[in-house]
């Protein structure tokens, strides 16, 4: 069953990315997601970027549903179910947070709960950087060098890991980036948590659409931890189409 919520505030965050705020009394852990239904259009999963009373989802325009959502106004309604899934577990010690593109939306509420941490915010260019003003003292990386470190988030992360000691890595972003971070964490023997994404249908763990190596992103994830992440050989390599057919990424 859905709950109908009214959009209280809409904010332009970055190129093609908007945040929608609404009231929902359900408790949400950082890393969990809602299923958002736009009646007559589509239903899709969306991680929660603000987890307090005034909830928020930060939406990148990527398809039919998200495009329709970008055209919505304050006062319009959303149909939601959830929150679903397992979120991030806050580990002791110093954390390195690596967010690529709209992946920062998932990591933002986690960062608010951390005490000792450093954050890398990365994107293809400076127009697509997300939440650089929401958090102080962040490191920035852009693929084109238009702001901050010129190169991939994973390259900047390796430099930081070389210079400092971290106890845990949290990451969310494009899958090749996350796969690389998992590889780096494994090599260095550091714990890692990553929020994964797969084409999702039911959101409640029964349809097998979003499974990766036999684990359901919607229920067993979306946040997975090491050592399970180290064993997932489909990560960064294979995914499934809506039909279930396995294809190369």
């Amino acid at each position: 069953m859905y709950r109908v919520v009214k959009i209280e505030k809409i904010k332009d965050e970055a190129k093609g990315i908007k945040t929608f705020r609404f009231h929902d009394s359900h408790k949400v852990e950082p890393g969990q997601f809602y299923m958002i239904w736009l009646p007559g259009v589509d239903e899709f999963p969306m991680s929660v970027s603000y987890v307090h009373d005034l909830k928020g989802v930060t939406v990148k325009k990527i398809g039919k549903g998200t495009e329709k959502m970008h055209g919505m106004k304050e006062g319009d309604k959303l149909w939601i179910r959830g929150p679903y899934g397992h979120g991030f577990k806050v580990e002791k010690g110093k954390a390195l947070v690596v967010g690529g593109g709209s992946g920062m939306a998932t990591l933002a509420p986690l960062i608010e709960k951390l005490k000792d941490y450093e954050v890398i915010i990365a994107a293809r260019n400076k127009e697509e950087l997300l939440f650089t003003e929401r958090f102080k003292d962040v490191k920035i990386a852009t693929d084109d060098g238009s702001l901050g470190y010129h190169g991939f988030a994973t390259e900047l992360a390796e430099i930081m890991l070389e210079e400092n000691t971290y106890d845990v890595i949290y990451t969310c972003g494009p899958e090749p980036m996350m796969a690389k971070m998992v590889e780096i964490a494994k090599k260095r023997g550091i714990k890692i948590q990553a929020s994964l994404e797969r084409f999702m249908k039911c959101g409640i763990g029964i349809c097998d659409s979003c499974s990766i190596n036999g684990y359901r992103v919607c229920v067993d994830g979306p946040v997975f931890s090491s050592p399970l992440l180290f064993e997932m050989d489909e990560l960064g390599k294979e995914k499934r189409r809506p039909s279930g057919l396995k294809v190369k990424i």
Partner: protein, 301 residues
């Protein structure tokens, strides 16, 4: 204690994963096998790759009142399914390949491919309530059901199970038309519809869906009971099995084993182990040494 036979197929326990739930990918099926299922029925596989319907494809009723789904027979296509079966087989439990077609030739082709891939049995989907030209639309035609079952039986050596729909005026007639099968699977979901009154439209993109969960159990138990009263064929009881009492109820009505699906939403994939443990305890307390002793004991002939 829980070992049962369904025809010639031996199962370590009577708890089989039902088709359509977590059985599209080989790795997931392998994980379910490692978590205690006695057998696994795959997602229904057809001739061609199919994406299924657009979201929403599942609606969850509040208060654990079950699910309405219209996934739309999403599947990678039979030519792409061999690897999934191969991986699932590593779990060491029987893998039953579910297939759907629009006529007996398609079913026969799909059945032969499943056999070639190593499936231990075939389940004919004659009962999906939400796909035009497939499933229930075929499964309520007794002549067509008879032709499909006979044709597939001629073409394959492994056991052939026929999964029947409750969305008919007389499921016993359908069961009799499928009497050449090695087992009957009873029941598939009940055709239903859910409307969101705030959105003023049906929730599922396909409008209609199949209703599953504990609320349909009396419909399934009644169907098993009625068929067992008239036929000696092995029966798989399906519909609303969530705990050991449900399993025993189906078996007392006449089922040789059960299939479990929607319960995974509420109990997780450990549901098989949980039921097996509790069922053994109940049997010990009540003087049963072998699960097969339960089959059909409430029948009055």
């Amino acid at each position: 204690m829980l070992q049962v036979k369904v025809g010639t197929l031996n199962l370590r326990n009577p708890l089989i994963l039902a088709s359509g739930i977590l059985d599209e990918s080989g790795e997931t099926m392998l994980r379910i096998a490692k978590n205690g299922a006695g057998g696994i029925v795959t997602k229904s596989i057809g001739i061609k790759e199919r994406e299924g319907y657009e979201n929403p494809v599942v609606y969850e009723f509040p208060g654990h009142m079950g699910l309405l789904n219209a996934i739309g027979l999403a599947n990678p296509g039979i030519e792409n399914y061999g690897e999934e079966i191969r991986i699932a087989k590593k779990g060491g439990v029987p893998i039953i390949g579910s297939i759907f077609g629009s006529n007996e030739d398609e079913f026969a082709y799909l059945g032969k491919k499943m056999e070639e891939y190593g499936a231990d049995a075939i389940e004919l989907n004659l009962s999906c309530p939400h796909a035009k030209g497939y499933g229930m639309e075929i499964g309520i035609d007794t002549e067509l059901v008879e032709r499909i079952v006979k044709k597939v039986k001629r073409e394959v050596k492994i056991p052939v199970w026929a999964k029947l729909t409750p969305n008919t005026s007389n499921i016993v007639d359908i069961a009799k038309s499928a009497e050449n099968a090695d087992a009957l699977v009873v029941i598939n979901t009940v055709k239903g519809l859910a409307i969101d009154i705030d959105a003023r439209m049906p929730v599922l993109s396909n409008i209609y869906g199949g209703y599953s969960g504990k609320c349909i159990k009396p419909i399934g138990v009644r169907a098993v009971y009625d068929i067992r009263r008239e036929m000696d064929i092995p029966i798989l009881g399906v519909g609303g099995v969530e705990n050991y009492r449900d399993v025993i109820e189906y078996m007392m009505a006449g089922a040789n084993a059960v299939e479990i699906g929607t319960a995974i939403r509420y109990k997780g994939i450990n549901v098989f182990e949980e039921i097996a443990k509790n069922m053994e305890s109940w049997m010990k307390e009540n003087g049963f040494e072998n699960a097969e002793e339960l089959v059909g004991i409430v029948q009055r002939r």
